[in-house]
Amino acid sequence: MQRGVVVRLVIFSVLTFAALFYIGPTFMGELPSWWSGLLPTDRIHLGLDLQGGSHLILEVKVDKAVENAIDRMKEELRKLLGEKAVPFSELEKNQANQIRLKVPAANGDRVRGLLKGEFPNLVLVSSRTDQGGVELLLALHEREMRALRDYAVDQSLETIRNRIDQFGVSEPIIQRRGQQDILVQLPGVQDPERAKEIIGKTALLEFKLLDETHSVEEAVKNGAPPGTQILYGYAAKGEGGLATEKVPYLLEARTLMTGEYIKDARVRPGSNLAGPYVELILDSGGARLFEKITAENVKKRLAIVLDNRVYSAPVIQERIGGGRASITGNFDMKEARDLAIILRAGALPAPVEIVEERTVGPSLGRDSIRQGIISFVVGGSLVILFMIAYYRGAGLVADVAVVFNVLFLLAVLAGFKAVLTLPGLAGIVLTVGMAVDANVLINERIREELRGGKSPRAAVEAGYERALPAILDSNITTFLSGLILFQFGTGPIKGFAVALCIGIVTTVLTGVYMTRIYYDYRMAARKLARISI
């Protein structure tokens, strides 16, 4: 018996030292240098609800990516038919996201052959022959559609990660969730509005020619003529340029170039009047294309469109080589910087929509921690005092176990890099209230056995032995519901489930096995003639 006590005492001492080392970093401001080399340095991670920050769930509009792909194929098909000199009367995308192509009946078989060879991803849904020719309905292959959707989400995730990295957030979490959602967590972000702006922008940059053959006013009134579209820009109005005015532009619908060729984007300070601008540096392919476009359209106006908003539409003075272009607009330094970040990180393959947002300001988090600690101290003290009042010596033993319980619980949280949230903090407080249950069961049992006439020694042994099944049962059921909670919960709730489940394990450890050491020691030392309970 004596040896058993010593062995267990050593085990618990080792555990206690380990626990102290694990929670040390959390409670010490600066770690001494010898510590970092040898010992754990992780602090308990605080959830977004305690340290402040933003939790966002973005839904990638994957169907839009599919639509864009079909648009692109349609244009490629148009080009191919032109090259092969196949006449066609109609080529368009219909409501059901299919390409409708009408060719003279004589060319039907040839077109089918071409499609099979050049567009293996398109399947022929139906073909109908009438006097006008053969009408073919083409749809994207199901497999290809799935791949496109998948790619759109993965690509969006990469782009968003790039943007956040450049925006500068420490320890962001960016994960794919399910079919088409992306989870973004930005701890401690000071300006959530700006972060959302940067993340959520599609950032599709397009260069389009201004249509100068029709009048803008008329197009606004009667609708844009075929092959053109109306987009708006914002111009400074009035003194100081604070207010803005919406200005319509009539553009050719055809996109000459997109932002995919951008190698780098930088903010350049402008002259005093114009404010800063963003300079784009194109890769070699982009530089060649841009040179060709500008050469072919000298004296025309080239609109720079970002997410369907016209930033500027300067007149092309001459052919522009060297692969540099610039976007001017009425932005301040911050807006220009954000724009450069977005352009550098690239466009999203499909628009994203924020479907869930939870943002907590840093001050609320601080208040929550303070209130959590106060209720922990007050609630814990009440329980400790009550146990001493009710069970006297045995109550004190239980109280010591509770203190160690909390120590181990915090150490495990730190060691497993678990996240402590506000409900998690409540879970720790609750654990203190529930942990004494094990000792209540044991103590009640000991009292009963004493009343039954057993010696203190036999009563303690019987008490521990008979209470154990009930203690295990009741902790297992709570643990099971904690597991379900973990499965179900989102961030903060998961934190509660984690605290609850870890708390149960540490409770059994301290409440049952640790307190037993004390009684076994007294038994071994033959000092258990009387027991305070």
Binding site: Q371, V440, L485, T490
Partner: protein, 306 residues
């Protein structure tokens, strides 16, 4: 110190008809309330946006409404939040046409114009799209149901080994019925005080399921022990003895949990208050249901068999 004197013999099972009638009526009332008045769903489940604002000066609810009215958010609900004099408010925006994520900026702008730029602080924003809300709602309901059934199955299997499958099943059934009772009573209390149902409430309900079944387990454990000790005793007496013998433990354990919950409720802050409230109600109900519901169910079932 002793709350329950040794040798206390309260004939709990005598009151079973009264208790079951009372509880059935209460539960039916909760269900009626649930389906007529309906729960006050938070943004987690209903979708929409909640903004928690703290002002530097005293501000009245009509003033806030006025400032919001100009922004065109549609229907808004403004509620006082936190302690008196903390000038904290909860603004709930219903189905808005404004995109999630753009709301904070709108409110910031509107309040800056009305109250001054640094006179307020947006402490929390929660926005949930309608699709996500529906998904969370369904998952919440299912997780509570799954947990309840799981507890029943655990007890069935656990006591099935020592009592035989039939008896184990009755114990499990008793536990499930008393858990349903506890969950319903908690929901009823939340409906009465008009707290919002959100994710933390589901967490509370799951915790209640996990905690309240403990008492049932402890009593069943004791019933098993007493049946072995005294095989001739009729079941009703065994059940009564067992409840009485464990009564002290039941009261103390729930009592200490309630001590910390009261501390959390009073001092833990507005965000955690509904959570603490739900646990307080559910844990208290758990004591009652173990004594007056779970054990009588076992008894009724056994008698019905004969």
């Amino acid at each position: 110190m002793e709350f329950i004197k040794p040798g206390t013999r309260i004939p709990f099972t005598k009151y079973r008809h009264m208790a079951i009638t009372l509880s059935t009526l209460v539960n039916i009332a909760v269900l009626v309330l649930l389906f007529t008045k309906g729960p006050n769903l938070g943004v987690d489940f209903a979708g929409g946006t909640m903004v928690h604002v703290k002002f530097a000066q005293k501000v009245s609810i009509p003033e806030i409404r006025q400032a919001l009215g100009k922004l065109g958010f549609g229907e808004t609900v403004v509620q006082d939040f936190g302690q008196d004099g903390s000038n904290e408010f909860m603004i709930r925006l219903e189905k808005t046409s404004v995109q999630i994520g753009a709301l904070g900026e709108g409110i910031r702008g509107g309040f800056s114009d009305r109250f001054g730029q640094d006179r307020f602080e947006i402490r929390r924003i929660e926005s949930v799209g309608p699709k996500v809300g529906k998904d969370l709602r369904e998952r919440g309901i299912w997780s509570v149901i799954a947990a309840t059934i799981m507890m029943g199955v655990y007890i069935w299997v656990r006591f099935g080994f020592s009592f035989g499958a039939r008896f184990g099943f009755h114990f499990g059934l008793g536990a499930v019925i008393s858990l349903i009772h506890d969950v319903l009573v908690t929901i009823g209390a939340l409906l009465l005080v008009n707290y919002e149902f959100d994710l933390t409430i589901v967490a509370a309900l799951l915790t209640i399921v996990g905690f309240s079944v403990n008492d049932t387990v402890i009593v069943c454990d004791r019933i098993r022990e007493n049946m072995r000790k005294n095989r001739r005793e009729i079941l009703e007496n065994t059940i009564n003895t067992s409840i009485n013998e464990t009564l002290s433990r039941t009261i103390i354990t729930t009592g200490t949990a309630i001590l910390v919950l009261v501390a959390l409720f009073l001092l833990g802050g507005g965000v955690i208050r509904p959570f603490a409230f739900a646990l307080l109600v559910g844990f208290s109900s758990g004591v009652y249901s173990t004594i007056f519901i779970a054990s009588p169910v076992i008894l009724l079932w056994e008698k019905g068999k004969k």
